[in-house]
Symmetry: C2
């Protein structure tokens, strides 16, 4: 496929180890509920209509580029769409979150899974990526993403969000063989999904492990990390960022993989982040709730953050997704401070 040439190369340059005059900036969940323009679309279409209609996903993905001016676009989608490859239904209950009417709770269910390869199943994602890449016209690069196997496993077994994911953990600890079979299936589908995303136009990939903290360090190493490492060992032809919230200590264990950058939450100090990442690029980690204070304070703190991380090998971002009640001018204050940075 042929796409317009990329104009803003900051993100790709940093991930490819090149010096840039300033760090690139984008925000996790930047295409979303803090934007009045998004809320207008949300009022008209259900969540899965927005995700599964390439024209809507494209429009939503580009909104923060036009309105806030970030240096990258990330496709409007959801980590849970990959679950479709297992023929398991996911609903989104308003005010409740994701809900799976038939969660996976037995070895028998794992053995009877009806697997549909990601490259065939998720054409609406690929169509949205291609359309968005074309519509962006090379203004900024386009990021594709997926949820990590352990995080998807949490939803597949728990059937909904949870503070403890104790049902998912109980299944893992009492049916380890079936659990690992399921984790391996998700791993293979994630690799297929990433390859297909790149073919469709994704210029950077990010893997989200949101629920690392549900497991202690030893269980994380044993039950989640091997799958992350498998996915990261693959060469997708574009840079891969791993965001392993609350297990940033695991980054040295990705040394022999194709990871180009590490996402860092606000639970990890810039100094620790640099240590864990070795010489590789780090991305993060402004506390999203600090975007609820004043533009003045945000500007000051953002400058301090860049100073602590150092402006090389660094992608400015939040430590987690932007909150729905953040004023747009505050998000702009964050982004503009980075764009106006001079070393």
């Amino acid at each position: 496929m042929s796409f317009p040439p990329l104009q803003n190369t900051l993100l790709l340059d940093v991930l490819n180890g090149k010096e840039t005059e300033r760090p690139p900036v984008w925000m996790m969940r930047q295409a979303g509920r803090y934007l009045p323009e998004y809320m207008e679309i949300k009022r008209k279409y259900s969540f899965f209509e927005r995700v599964k209609t390439p024209e809507l996903a494209c429009e939503i993905t580009i909104q923060p580029i036009d309105i806030v001016g970030t240096d990258a676009a990330i496709l409007f989608s959801d980590i849970l769409v990959l679950i479709e490859c297992l023929d398991v239904e996911v609903q989104l209950k308003p005010g409740f979150g994701p809900y799976l009417p038939d969660p996976i709770r037995s070895a028998e269910q794992v053995n009877k899974l009806n697997i549909k390869p990601a490259e065939e199943q998720l054409s609406y994602v690929y169509d949205a990526l291609t359309l968005t890449r074309k519509t962006l016209g090379g203004r900024v690069p386009l990021i594709g993403f997926a949820g990590a196997p352990w995080t998807l496993f949490c939803y597949l077994v728990e059937g909904q969000g949870s503070k403890t994911f104790s049902t998912a953990k109980s299944f893992l600890f009492s049916e380890p063989e079936a659990a690992h079979k399921l984790l391996q299936v998700m791993t293979e589908q994630t690799i297929r999904y990433f390859h297909s995303q790149v073919k469709a136009g994704a210029q950077v990939l990010q893997l989200f492990e949101s629920w690392a903290a549900a497991l202690g360090p030893d269980d994380f190493k044993q039950h989640a990390l091997p799958y992350l490492q498998q996915i990261a060992a693959e060469d997708y032809g574009v840079p891969l960022i791993i965001f392993c919230k609350d297990a940033e200590w695991s980054y040295p264990l990705f040394a022999d993989t194709n990871v180009s950058g590490f996402g860092i939450s606000w639970g990890c100090t810039p100094e620790d982040a640099r240590n864990f990442a070795g010489g590789k690029t780090v991305q993060g980690n402004y506390d999203p709730s600090k975007l609820l204070s004043t533009p003045e304070r945000i500007r000051e703190e953002t400058k301090a953050m860049i100073r602590r991380f150092g402006h090389s090998n660094y992608i400015a971002n939040l430590g987690h997704g932007i909150l729905p009640n953040v004023p747009v001018e505050n998000a702009k204050a964050f982004v503009d401070t980075i764009k106006n940075f001079t070393p």
Copy 2:
């Protein structure tokens, strides 16, 4: 007040630095919903009836001593009762959790707080402690507890539980002066509360900082730690355990206080725990969701846990509260493995 002499001195011995033949064991939330005997009381009385009726609180507190055989009793109560000292109403909505109809969201509200000293306000807690201590007849020691100021602040401002406590954090970051005034008020009331608990019969105190992870390490050090240190600097005449979930790295910063032991969640490895605690006693850290597997597996893992922590200066416990759906025989398998431990 005079109480019967203590027979099982394991917990106090360990906290006082004495060698014991085995580690003592108790479980956070051991008086609670996994016990059918508790559920019977729960069906008849509301949460606050159970908490505020000394006879009921006493009965519930002693249930796990009789049924599971732990080496300590911890008063059946709730960290949120201390909020009464601020004349702020707390409700418990079934299936929802704590709910404050009028949360604190402005400097004006902080300035107009009607403070009622903890020693006068919470007589039902003190009566329950005295009655329980007498009824226990010296079988095991009685633990009193309180929530840490930052954790209580989270509920006071947010008005309910939350995954991010972004409203509480937003108030902290945008109204730091009022926020710190409120944190200081909670600190002083906690100190009064602890002194009164000891006077009423508590033989050990535990301070719970459950929401440390909502703040990053720098914000935790700046906004939460100073209050924990103030509380820990006080001499209550009994051992104090600090349980600072997800901020175990802060334990070296309690070196100059009267802390006797440090609680550790399953997010902290035994090796890190020993490091952070220096020579002091550590308490933890079995993953509560592992109590949902089989008694055989629980016995194996519990032995492995003791080996990793070492059996001296160690209190066996869970890394967080026991889950409601744990079979009683599994809780017993955990407790019995420790009671049968021989070095």
